[in-house]
C-alpha cells in the first residue's frame, strides 16, 4: 500500500522535527533546570528512540502492538521525567516539558495504525501523562494540550481510515477498468478472427453436424465476448439474453432490451427453455421464438413445425398426468401471474404462448 508507506514516512519526519524542537527548547530553558545533565540524557534517549522507532516502523511486519506499546511507554517515560529535571514550581507554572510536541508522535502512530479509537486511546494516555506531570489544578495551557492530543488522535485516525477506503476503492476501479479494457481487446480479437472463422465453418461445411456446431459456437462465443448489456438497471434483466439459443432455435425479438425484474425474467426464460426442449423432442427438431414487448405485458411464443396435437389430446394427456413439462410451464407462469395458451392442430405444428403481465 502506497498510502501507508507515505503515512509512516510522514510520522518519521514529524518525529525528527519534533525532536529538533525539543532540543531547541531545552537549550533555551536548560539554565532553569534542577538537573540539566539528566535533561540532556533524556534528550539523548529521545534521539536514540527517534532513530530506533523510525527504523522499526519502516517495516510493515514490525508495525504491531508491541512496538506501538513500547513507543507509547517510552514517550510517557520521557514526558514524566520532566518532573525530575525541572524545578517543581516551574512545572506547575507551565514551563515547557522536556518532550514538548515530540510526545504527540505515538498518538499519531496509534491513529494511523488503528483508526480513531486507537488514536483517541493514545491521546488520552499521553494527555493523562501530561496532567499527572503538572499535578494540582491543570492550567489552561495544559487543558488545551490535552484536548489537542485527543483531537489529533481521533481526527488523524478517522481521516486515515477514510483515505484507506478511498485507496481501496480506487485500486478496485483501476482493476475493473483494466479488466474491461482487456475484455474489449479480447473481444475485438475474437470478433475479427475466431468468430469469422466459425461463421465460415458453419456456412461452408458440407458436414451438417460440423456446420451446426460451428454456428452454435459462434453464437455462444459472441454472447460471451459481448459481456453484460449496458443500460440494464440493477435488479432487472434483459429477457433476450436469457433465452435458449442454438442452431435449431430462431429468435425474433425487438432491437432494444426487454426489461423485466430479474427473478421474473429468469422464471420466464426457464419456462421458455422447457417449451423449447419440448419442441425439440416432439416438434420436428426446430423451434421459433418470438419475443414481444408491450406496455402491459411481455409475450414469448414458442412454435415448432411438428405433427401437432389433435384436439382434445392435450386435455386428455394432462388429465392422465402425463404432460409433466406442460404442467411445469403452466406452474411457473401461474406463479408469475401470467398465462399459457397452447395452440395446436394436426399438420400445423404446436405453438405455446407465454404471457407475463408487467
Amino acid at each position: 500500500m502506497r498510502l501507508d508507506t507515505a503515512l509512516w514516512r510522514a510520522i518519521a519526519v514529524y518525529r525528527v522535527a519534533a525532536l529538533l524542537y525539543a532540543a531547541g527548547s531545552m537549550a533555551v530553558y536548560t539554565d532553569t533546570y534542577r538537573r540539566p545533565v539528566l535533561g540532556w540524557a533524556v534528550l539523548a534517549g529521545m534521539a536514540a528512540w527517534t532513530a530506533t522507532a523510525t527504523w522499526l516502523y519502516s517495516d510493515p511486519r514490525r508495525r504491531g502492538r508491541p512496538l506501538l506499546l513500547a513507543d507509547l511507554a517510552l514517550t510517557l517515560t520521557a514526558l514524566l521525567s520532566s518532573v525530575l529535571v525541572l524545578e517543581p514550581g516551574l512545572v506547575q507554572a507551565g514551563d515547557p516539558t522536556l518532550t514538548v510536541s515530540w510526545a504527540a508522535t505515538p498518538v499519531i502512530a496509534w491513529a494511523v495504525h488503528g483508526g480513531w479509537p486507537a488514536g483517541l486511546a493514545a491521546g488520552a494516555a499521553v494527555g493523562a501523562g501530561a496532567l499527572a506531570e503538572r499535578g494540582g489544578t491543570p492550567s489552561q495551557a495544559t487543558v488545551n494540550s490535552v484536548v489537542l492530543l485527543l483531537l489529533v488522535g481521533s481526527v488523524v485516525g478517522y481521516v486515515v481510515t477514510l483515505a484507506r477506503r478511498a485507496e481501496t476503492a480506487y485500486a478496485r476501479a483501476v482493476e475493473l477498468q483494466a479488466a474491461a479494457a482487456e475484455r474489449e481487446r479480447l473481444s475485438r480479437q475474437v470478433h475479427d478472427g475466431v468468430l469469422q472463422a466459425l461463421a465460415l465453418v458453419a456456412r461452408r461445411s458440407s458436414d451438417p453436424e460440423l456446420a451446426r456446431l460451428g454456428a452454435e459456437q459462434e453464437r455462444s462465443l459472441r454472447r460471451l465476448v459481448a459481456g453484460p448489456v449496458a443500460g440494464v438497471p440493477s435488479g432487472e434483466a434483459d429477457l433476450r439474453a436469457l433465452l435458449p439459443s442454438g442452431a435449431d432455435v430462431e429468435v425474433a425479438a425487438p432491437a432494444s432490451p426487454v426489461l423485466l425484474p430479474a427473478a421474473t425474467a429468469g422464471e420466464l426464460a426457464a419456462a421458455v427453455g422447457e417449451a423449447v426442449a419440448n419442441a425439440r423432442r416432439h416438434g420436428g427438431g426446430r423451434a421459433w421464438l418470438l419475443v414481444e414487448d408491450e406496455p402491459d405485458a411481455v409475450t414469448v411464443s414458442v412454435r415448432d413445425d411438428g405433427p401437432g396435437i389433435p384436439p382434445g389430446r392435450l386435455e386428455q394427456a394432462e388429465a392422465e398426468g402425463r404432460l409433466g413439462v406442460s404442467r411445469s410451464i403452466k406452474g411457473r407462469l401461474a406463479d408469475l401471474g401470467g398465462t399459457v395458451v397452447v395452440d395446436s392442430a394436426p399438420g400445423r405444428g404446436t405453438e405455446v404462448e407465454l404471457r407475463v403481465p408487467r
Partner: protein, 217 residues
C-alpha cells in the same frame, strides 16, 4: 420475376474480413451471379457502388470507416438494393440499416444457398424477411406506439401486425397465406408495406432534423 433477363445479376460485396469476403464472392460467382466489385471498408463500398452501379450490395454491418448503416443510407437512394449480412447480436444495427433503406438481412451463419437465394430476392425487389427481421420491425412499431405519438408516427394495421407476428414465428410467406386465406402476393405486400412505412418515417425524420439544424444555424 426473373433477374437474369439481360445478363447476370450484378453484386458488390462489402466486408472487412478478407477470408469471409472471398468466400461470399466465390459462393455468388459459383451460382452464376456477377460480382462486379468488392470493398473492405465503408467508404470504399460507397465509391465502388457509385462506379459499378450493382443491382445488389451485400453489406457487412461492422466495417472500418463508414458503418454498414451509413453505407446503406448513402447507396439505397441511388437505386442499389442493400442486403445486410450481420453477425448475430447486432439487432440494433440491423434495425438501423433497415430503416436506412436495406431491404433484407441475413445472419452470417446462413448457408451459401440461403445467401444466393436472398440476393436473388433482394434484386427482384422483394424484402428478405427472416423471422429475426420481422421481430425487429414488430418491436420497433411497438416501441414507437409506446412513446410520444403524433400524426407522423407510422402504425401497423391489424392485418399487418398479424402477418408480421406469423413471419416472426417462422412461418413462410406461403404458410402465412394459407393460414390467413389470402394470396401469397398479398402477404408479400403487407410485409413490404411495414418496411416502407418505417423507411419513409425515418427519411421524413432525417429531413425534419436537417431542416431544424439548417434553420437554427
Amino acid at each position: 420475376m426473373c433477374p437474369a433477363e439481360d445478363g447476370p445479376l450484378t453484386v458488390v460485396v462489402a466486408d472487412d474480413h478478407p477470408i469471409w469476403r472471398d468466400a461470399v464472392e466465390r459462393d455468388l460467382a459459383a451460382a452464376g451471379l456477377s460480382v462486379v466489385g468488392a470493398a473492405g471498408d465503408g467508404d470504399k463500398a460507397v465509391r465502388v457502388c457509385a462506379a459499378t452501379r450493382p443491382q445488389v450490395l451485400v453489406c457487412d454491418l461492422q466495417m472500418p470507416g463508414l458503418s454498414g448503416v451509413e453505407v446503406t443510407r448513402a447507396v439505397a437512394p441511388t437505386g442499389v438494393r442493400v442486403l445486410v449480412l450481420s453477425a448475430s447480436g447486432e439487432q440494433a444495427d440491423v434495425l438501423e440499416a433497415v430503416k436506412a433503406g436495406a431491404t433484407g438481412y441475413l445472419v452470417k451463419s446462413a448457408s451459401a444457398a440461403e445467401l444466393v437465394d436472398a440476393v436473388r430476392r433482394t434484386a427482384a425487389g422483394d424484402a428478405v424477411f427472416t423471422p429475426g427481421l420481422a421481430g425487429l420491425v414488430l418491436g420497433e412499431y411497438r416501441r414507437m406506439a409506446a412513446g410520444p405519438v403524433d400524426d407522423g408516427t407510422p402504425r401497423l394495421t391489424d392485418r399487418e401486425t398479424e402477418v408480421l407476428r406469423l413471419v416472426a414465428k417462422g412461418l413462410t410467406a406461403r404458410q402465412v397465406a394459407e393460414r390467413l386465406v389470402v394470396s401469397h402476393r398479398t402477404v408479400e405486400n403487407h410485409v413490404q408495406n411495414t418496411l416502407s412505412k418505417l423507411q419513409l418515417h425515418n427519411r421524413a425524420q432525417l429531413v425534419r432534423y436537417a431542416l431544424e439544424k439548417g434553420l437554427a444555424d
